[in-house]
């Protein structure tokens, strides 16, 4: 009898990541398209404005900040992560050595790497949009801060990562065992109910007041919990081919 192949989970995950990172790349191109379209739609409005009426001076600032770009990236991460858990992608995993666990761990790594790239894409869109405005509209800019501060970078990364993790968890929940499926549906309905009944009960102001670094840590820990839950659920799920 030939000796049996003994590959560690780590090796398999590494190989899966190596191939998936190439095969899932189209999701990043959709982020670029998404950001370009929105950059074009909201070409001139900026992300915010503030006005001052003092000393007979009517001062109006149009502020170009990263809010819209981050907003898009976050939605993108959520949807992409859900797409990664759809049938077509899961079926492809079955044709190589894999388990649901290894595939989900690989997806986790992919989401983290893509989130990192997404921050760079986000920054690129930001600068390119400014460039386009400065050439086409010929309006002068005041540069408050041009450079992504490391804490800001980390915060963008952690928020995108968090929503990717939630998407992955969400997608996996609906592929998992029945009780997890029903639990998730219940939770989602409950959350929507709460949101409709009293939207003020969800108050994140306390979180926003934290310094950037602490916020990133918070986001990343929630992301880590979501990722772990997703992997745990994957470990329990069967391959459903419908």
């Amino acid at each position: 009898m030939h000796s049996l192949t003994n590959l560690s989970l780590k090796t398999i995950v590494k190989k899966q990541v190596k191939w998936k990172i190439k095969l899932y790349i189209s999701s990043l191109s959709s982020l670029i398209i998404l950001q370009s379209i929105f950059g074009f739609l909201f070409f001139s409005s900026g992300s915010g404005s503030s006005g001052y009426g003092q000393q007979n001076l009517d001062l109006n600032f149009t502020i170009y900040s990263l809010d819209m770009h981050l907003f898009l990236s976050v939605f993108w991460a959520f949807i992409s992560a859900i797409i990664f858990t759809t049938r077509a992608y899961r079926m492809d995993d079955l044709s190589v050595i894999s388990s649901r666990t290894s595939s989900t761990i690989a997806n986790t790594v992919i989401i983290m790497i893509y989130s990192l790239i997404a921050v760079f894409i986000m920054a690129s869109t930001f600068y390119l949009q400014l460039l386009a405005i400065s050439f086409l509209k010929n309006e002068p800019f005041i540069i408050d801060n041009l450079i992504f501060s490391p804490t800001l970078f980390m915060m963008c990364f952690s928020i995108i990562c968090l929503f990717g993790a939630i998407g992955l968890l969400f997608g996996n929940c609906f592929k998992g065992p029945v009780f997890i499926k029903s639990l998730t549906s219940f939770f989602v309905m409950f959350a929507v109910f709460i949101l409709i009944i009293s939207p003020d009960s969800i108050n994140l102001k306390g979180l926003i007041m934290l310094p950037n670094f602490m916020m990133s840590v918070c986001y990343l820990s929630v992301a880590a919990i979501s990722f772990s839950l997703a992997i745990w659920i994957a470990n329990k799920s069967e391959v459903s081919r419908t």
Binding site: N60, D144, I147
Partner: protein, 236 residues
Amino acid sequence: MTAITALLFIPFILILVIFIILRKLSKNTKKFWTPKRIIIVIAGYITLGFLAFLYFAFFYESKLTVLANSEIKQLESELKSLQRYDQEYNSSYLTKDYIKNTWEFKFEGDSLPVSIQERGNGLNFDIRLRYNDDIEKGKAVISYYQFPVIIDGLNMADQIPLPIVYMTQEQLFIEPPLENKVSYNRIKASLGIVDFNREVDLEPSISLFHYSSVLLIDVARNTELEDLQGRVTYIR
């Protein structure tokens, strides 16, 4: 609530629609858009973005520069001392550096009636009277002093419009300026949602002197200013 819902859901639906269209399209474009080509495009996009960044960092000349915190602090302390001098009726803070405009008028007799018109927002500057020995009789030198005005880290002193000062029928008229509309584009590589919320609790971003500008009327001693409105304060 409805506004927030609309704000959140309209882009969400739009993104979804774009996603669906993209996925439909991707079926046809997969032949050309191989992973390798997509990677090249993404790398190119990020490089372009970086080049744009370099352009702004090194070649873009901004007309206004944002003041550093230390500069703001310095200006604020300067303004505070100005205010103190002003309260002590000491005119020594009115240095030539702050003069933005001067008017010279001639009049007959020993008295000069002043009429101050307040329109709209009212007067945005203080009016001070100083007896100056260097000035000959029958002449008034009016100087407009503009002190720094810091709004959101910018010194907006230059943008504050000049008051309208004129003399007809031996009477000095002072009118507030027409409103100056200025708008700027500002690049802030930060998150507004987060920052705005934090700034609510921080000190206001506008720091200015009680009135950041002073209109000084210099007249010769023994000249009487007929100020019926009582808006003019004497200063030594």
